[in-house]
């Protein structure tokens, strides 16, 4: 059936264009939080791409691990990154914080 073949191609083309566009936006955006959220949605669309490639196991693994857990890890790390920068306001406080944290981490 011609219509079905054309529809398949349209679906694949749309998926490919949106995946590439999401990756571009995620890597080129100025705000890191926006980049991480776009990366999570990129992972979710990638699960659809795996289904199109007849790989449902990979789709399950990508949606759970690739999008979900990697996104959670990135957001947690970004929150801790901002935490450190907010704390280090002036010069001597930076030294005090680094000393305090290295004492904490070494025991």
């Amino acid at each position: 059936m011609e219509a079905l073949i054309i529809l398949n191609w349209v679906l694949d083309a749309l998926l490919g264009v949106s995946l590439f566009g999401l990756a571009w936006l995620a890597l080129a955006s100025s705000d890191i939080f926006k980049a991480i959220v776009l990366f999570i949605s990129f992972g979710l669309l990638m699960a659809l791409a795996w289904v199109r490639l007849n790989a449902p196991d990979i789709a399950l693994a990508e949606a759970a691990i690739g999008a979900g857990l990697t996104g959670a890890l990135l957001l947690a790390a970004y929150a801790r990154l901002e935490d450190i920068d907010v704390d280090a306001v002036d010069g001597e406080n930076v030294q005090a914080h680094i000393q305090h944290d290295s004492n904490e981490g070494s025991e």
Binding site: N8, A13, L27, F39, M46, L53, I58, A61
Partner: protein, 102 residues
């Protein structure tokens, strides 16, 4: 040319896009994001090239390799994030020290 080659070319494009972002951006978190996009591109190429023959079922060995690869990439990302936080704690900056200049 069947539709799997579209996904293979998309995988190549994602790999090069990630490589570009890895080289350009100095911020460490962006580098980790770029490496993840690169590995996703490589997985796409692997799986797309495994289902070229449309009459039979796809080859399950690259599927197993990609599942293994996804788990390994999430553990490497976790370790890289902890290293990034440690570097941030030690130097106070978000970017790796640039040795080539000044």
């Amino acid at each position: 040319m069947s539709y799997v080659y579209l996904y293979a070319l998309l995988g190549v494009g994602l790999f090069v896009l990630g490589l570009n972002a890895l080289i350009i951006h100095p911020h460490m978190l962006r580098k980790i994001l770029a490496v993840n996009v690169m590995s996703t591109g490589v997985f796409l190429v692997l799986v797309a090239l495994s289902s070229r023959n449309e009459e039979v079922l796809p080859d399950p060995v690259p599927h197993a390799m990609v599942i293994t690869g996804i788990v390994v990439s999430v553990s490497a990302t976790a370790l890289a994030l902890i290293l990034m936080l440690k570097v941030n704690r030690a130097t106070g900056k978000n970017e790796l020290p640039d040795r080539g200049r000044d």
